[in-house]
Amino acid sequence: MLRFLIRRTLAAAVILMIISAVTFLLFYAIPADPARLACGKVCPPETLAQARHNLGIDKPLMVQFVSWVVAIFVGRDYEGLGHCPAPCLGYSFVNRQPVFDTIIDRLPATLALTVGAAVIFLLFGVATGVIAALRQGKALDKIASVSSLIGASVQIYFVGTLLMYFFVYQLHVFAQPKYIPITEDPVGWFSGLLLPWIVLAIIFTANYTRMTRSTMVETLSEDYVRTARAKGMSGASVVLRFALRGTLTPIVTIFGVDLGTLIGGAIITETTFGLQGLGRLSLNAVNNSDLPLLMAVVLVAAAAIVVMNVVVDALYAVIDPRVRLS
């Protein structure tokens, strides 16, 4: 098990390394000159050259990349600007501070948004899936299936905006979406995120309902379950002991992937609801040509996806020992 984990982690590290190399290379192609932006409106050539030197962008690409990677582990000094302690993911010349601090500052909003929504859609999805499976073909099953299908086809910016229009501004049922740290005001934290959670849940629940339902139906028709039932095991314990367990593997898989993509790609959700998380941060970075920040956000987002993949693999291995052999 340990060896399996080490192997997967190493593979993930390599993938992250390649992603950062590719990103670095591509960002090099972006036409904006960060030195020009850092220099200002009255920018004599000497000052511009100095800015280039301070930013380290007068060196060859390879050297720049290596010093960027090294800085992650040991930190780096930017002449005339300040020190960027490890883990130094870069130094933003727009914000004049290490990008790591900015990211750490925004991460909680994205995590709260994502994890909160994930809890809702996981519980709700599995529950409706179980009900649908137990009542196959009945009205409830059909309603669950149809609504989950529509939910999966819906766009956040459409439904999110529509719900805001009716429930926030017309009926005043929900609070205006915003992020307040839970440490400051737990009630405000909850009510501010409730609508975004619900909208994400509408969209993501569908997958879990479908997946749970189909796996449950399959498991329930297995011989051993029938036997257990025939021997007088109660419905509830059948569901809990066999059927739910069977659904674990596929659910864990898609859950891991969804969580990773959500953390990495909350741009549309955060834009729709005006939440200040990593998604908005990355959009701002794009608009400000803040390449060091953008680069770091890409890396963090990729890391979220890759790490979730490793976690899924690990969980997989726990649930089903056969996986480890392959």
Binding site: T23, G264, T271
Partner: protein
Amino acid sequence: MTTPTSTAPAVDATSVTETQEAVGRSPGQLMWLRFRRDRTGVISAIIVIFFFLVAILAPVIAAVYGKNPYTLYGQDIPGLLNDYGYPVAPNGGISSEYWFGLEPSLGRDVFTQLVYGIRTSLGIAVVATIIMTVLGIVIGIVAGYAGGKTDYFVGRVIDLTLSFPQTLFIIAFMPVVDSILVASNEEPPVWLRAVSLTIMLTAFGWAGLARLLRGQVLSLRTREFVEAAKVTGASPARIVFKELLPNLWTPILIQSTLLLPAMVTAEAGLSFLGVGMGELVPDWGRMFLRATQVYRNDITYLIFPGVALLVFVVAFNLLGDSIRDAFDPKIKR
């Protein structure tokens, strides 16, 4: 993933057909028969065909309707928009003259914007889907069939592609792709963004299909009929085209019917984030962008593209499911 709405009748019908008329039916015919009996599938297909027809016939529709998506009706004709730029008539300015109302501020006709918008969105989505499917097929088959180092390498590239935060990446690189395609001192043509969007969507979209096909080929490769072909000295080309491909059409078709609506929504999403088509090209995504700005005063302008996109995606997803069911009823779990 199944469409439970159609489950019960479809299965029954199929089994009846197969027992009664067990002779002389090709798989294609069987599929068609099963599909025809799937009412949800047929309705979805009609809706999807309707959308495509609208896209193709957009100029004809506009001509009959007597408006175009480019004229600023609300600005040229006084009394249509109020001082703030919102339609004066109720419900976003809906009238017998402007069926779906007027766009706030610029005062263009929403109906023709929507009709022409399908063209843009579907055009980009179809082209991207085709390129992606071809790429996915080639890469998936090559990796699966060649095996060994090639397979390992392709597998890692697929992993890598899937690990990229796609939306973020596309937003960051759209300007780069633009500048590569057209030198900065030239007038950027209207098609520029469409091409850039297609390229970016394709760059990240092929991997899923390739991974799936690779898996399929891997399992097919060891099957008896392929082994037999190899033993009889069939060329790799023959094996790929005559033995493997025919067995892959089903997953390919199913996957690409699911890819297409995903591309339509991806394109709309990018436009919503501000990296889509320019103001001069009618586009659904940009309608969303504008609609989410003005919705407090003109919710109608959000409803039309929203409902249109929703209907299209639901219909296409249902169609995808139905096609899957029709091809292989056993997939139903």
